[in-house]
């Protein structure tokens, strides 16, 4: 059972990182972040189970859900603004760093 959960965690985190590395579209970045954080949350719950601290794991999971939702909401709001102001969803096109 634990092995299955570990495989799920690793694959979720791997998918999240892979998306973050290859994509430039802000909507896809937000989706990737969601996937990544869900993997981290399951890891947290598994750790709680293994160390017999389920209450702690539960509160951590709820905290992660709340924080994650805030990230998603603000990210989506910013992506709408980005689309309205610049007409694009590509985050590279708005970078102003000197290269």
């Amino acid at each position: 059972m634990n092995t299955l959960v570990i495989i799920a965690i690793v694959s979720l985190i791997a998918i999240g990182f892979y998306c973050l590395i290859i994509t430039r579209n802000i909507l896809k970045i937000i989706v990737a972040l969601q996937v990544l954080v869900k993997g981290a949350m399951i890891a947290m719950i598994l750790a709680g189970k293994l160390t017999d601290q389920m209450e702690l794991a539960q509160s951590m999971a709820i905290t992660i859900i709340v924080a994650d939702t805030i990230v998603a909401v603000i990210g989506l709001a910013m992506s709408i603004q980005l689309r309205e102001k610049t007409g694009t969803c590509d985050i590279h096109s708005i970078s102003k760093l000197k290269r």
């Binding site: 994509t23 430039r24 970045i29 985050i91 970078s95 000197k98």
Partner: protein, 585 residues
């Protein structure tokens, strides 16, 4: 009673600062009046607090096991310094009403000054190292803001940044010491730390690290060797700010820190000697630089650095009483000197002493007050600087090797020489240019009068001063001396007359400067080294250029591209995982 006064003392200036910010620049008259009222109120509160000196600690709120208690101590060490900060603060705010008239962004100026006054009270009154760090950084922020007050002047901005960066070394030292103390005593309380250090609970090597990181903190904040270069550049600030922050209060925070931790750290081998030698090097270097400087405010800044060196030397010789007494005297007469310099600069518009001259007849009131301040600086009886300086010289003579005493006597010559040079160039001789000057208006003259009265009489409080220090700080071994004991001790000591002889030599050297063989290659060499601040300016510039080059070199890794950053994070994560696996095997 003290439990009510202390929060009021911290929050009165802070609330006034917020209100002043809301009044905004449109109502200039209101700004001046409101800021002065707040500052005077806090000065009165601090004077009331003087009656509450005792050895108790007041805790307000428990802010969790991590930060300890929000506690304040009511011993004389903190309360006297808080009193100095608030009283001189109120005088400088009154002075500012005239000096800063019709300047832009006055709301910012007054808010920062009042924020500083409140933070300084908190810094010296709190008994919690975490809170000391908190207030310490607020004072650094205010100092930076006020040095860069004229923010369209590149010199001011540069001076402010330099002060901020160099004093941050002190912040880092304080933080390391605080964390080590917390790690070994499980508490941020200073009293607990002193108990643990004296009881041998902390290993000797850790105590040594704590002691020397605190020396770094103190030298950076008090502008001592090797961190002294920021103070002369801080003179770009408006002069009342220089008087308050860079002469009378904030630069004393380092000295205060060493005094506060003195009983815990004095047993560390070499700790006191290090402080003594640092102080001595600072005195000699800064006095030489003061002799050759041409800017009136820079001369005063160098003399501040050297007087702080005297306080360091007193701590090094083991006399907290002499150190604190000189701190009191110095705060009064240096604030007086700076405010006089401010009045002069305000009326003639230049800081170059070689353009002044012959001001004595034109501005008699400012001249007399400035000369009173300079006589105290040079250590002429019976002004306050004389008593405290003799007390320091006596403690150094009795507690340290004779060579250090001889070097201190040499520094007395240098002090007298740069003081008389400064006074002579500004007030006597023939006018070197046709500058128009006028005497101080009432709001400027009032603080000058009060401070010069203080310079003449503040040594009379020696008896209650030493009694309160000795009663409220039982661990420090401070002797209880009466005024008559002080007077007889100093006047019957032949070494006092030796020191006075040195002052006379310094003054004579100035008057005989054209007859003595001073214009030779050696003095010219010393002059050029001094004007380059003994190579420390070059070291500073080297560090700045080095950091610039390094950041330019690693700019390429800052792509600003999310994909590369994530890739870097992933690589880092994998490295950590591998390290953990190797560690686990």
């Amino acid at each position: 009673m003290a439990g009510i006064l202390i929060p009021f003392l911290i929050f009165t200036p802070w609330l006034t600062a917020i209100l002043v910010w809301f009044i905004s620049d449109k109502h200039e008259e209101g700004l001046h009046q409101f800021a002065s009222a707040g500052a005077i109120l806090s000065a009165i509160l601090s004077l009331l607090l003087l009656s509450q000196i005792g050895d108790s600690t007041i805790s307000f709120a428990k802010i969790g096991p991590l930060f300890g208690n929000l506690s304040f101590s009511t011993d004389a060490l903190g309360i006297i310094l808080a009193c100095i900060a608030n009283c001189i603060g109120s005088l400088t705010v009154i002075f500012s009403a005239e000096y800063m008239k019709h300047e832009k962004s006055l709301a910012r100026y007054y808010s920062m000054v009042l924020l500083f006054i409140g933070a300084m009270s908190g810094l010296v009154l709190t008994a919690n190292i975490f809170m000391i760090f908190f207030f310490w950084e607020i004072t650094a922020l205010c100092s930076y803001q006020l040095i860069s007050f004229y923010n369209d002047d590149p010199n001011a901005v540069r001076g402010g940044l330099k002060a901020l960066f160099i004093t941050q070394f002190g912040g880092i030292g304080l933080m390391v010491a605080g964390l080590l103390i917390f790690g070994y005593t499980n508490s941020f309380e200073i009293g607990r730390f002193i108990q643990a250090a004296q009881g041998g609970e902390i290993p000797a090597n850790v105590l040594g690290i704590i002691g020397f990181t605190l020396i770094i903190a103190a030298t950076a904040k008090s502008a001592q060797f090797p961190f002294f270069t920021w103070l002369p550049d801080a003179m770009e600030a408006p002069t009342p700010v220089s008087a308050l922050i860079h002469a009378a209060t904030m630069v004393n925070a380092g000295v205060y820190l060493l005094c506060r931790f003195f009983p815990a750290l004095e047993a560390i081998p070499g700790w006191k000697m290090t402080i003594l030698i640092l102080g001595l090097i600072t005195i000699l270097i800064s006095s030489l630089m003061a002799i050759f400087a041409t800017d009136l405010k820079r001369v005063l800044a160098y003399s501040t650095v050297s007087q702080l060196g005297y306080m360091f030397a007193a701590i090094g010789a083991g006399s907290v009483l002499a150190c604190q007494f000189h701190l009191l005297s110095h705060a009064i007469f240096k604030a007086l000197l700076f405010l006089c310099a401010g009045a002069i600069i305000h009326s003639c518009g230049t800081r170059d002493m070689y353009k002044m001259g012959g001001f004595f007849k034109k501005i008699p009131f400012i001249s007399v007050t400035f000369i009173i301040g300079s006589l105290a600086l040079a250590g002429i009886p019976i002004l306050n600087g004389f008593w405290s300086k003799e007390l320091i010289l006596e403690s150094i003579h009795s507690g340290t090797p004779i060579i250090i005493y001889i070097l201190m006597l040499f520094s007395v010559i240098l002090t007298a020489l740069y003081t008389i040079r400064c006074v002579w160039l500004v007030f006597f001789g023939e006018p070197r240019s046709d500058l128009h000057v006028h005497d101080a208006p009432f709001l400027m003259a009032l603080p000058l009068g009060i401070l010069s009265l203080g310079t003449i009489t503040s040594w009379l409080v020696f008896e209650p001063f030493s009694r309160s220090l000795s009663n409220s700080l039982p661990l420090y071994g401070i002797p209880k001396e009466t005024l008559s004991e002080l007077v007889s001790k100093i006047f019957w000591d032949p070494y006092t007359f030796l020191a006075l002889g040195m002052v006379a030599i310094g003054i004579l050297v100035w008057f005989l400067r054209n007859k003595l063989p001073l214009h030779n290659s050696i003095t010219r060499k010393i002059e050029s080294i001094s004007l380059n601040s003994f190579g420390f300016e070059a070291i500073n510039n080297g560090v700045v250029n080095g950091i610039n080059a390094a950041s330019e070199a690693i700019r390429n890794i800052q792509t600003g591209s999310l994909n590369w950053n994530i890739f870097g994070m992933l690589i880092g994560l994998i490295c950590i995982l591998i390290a953990l696996m190797i560690g686990g095997l």
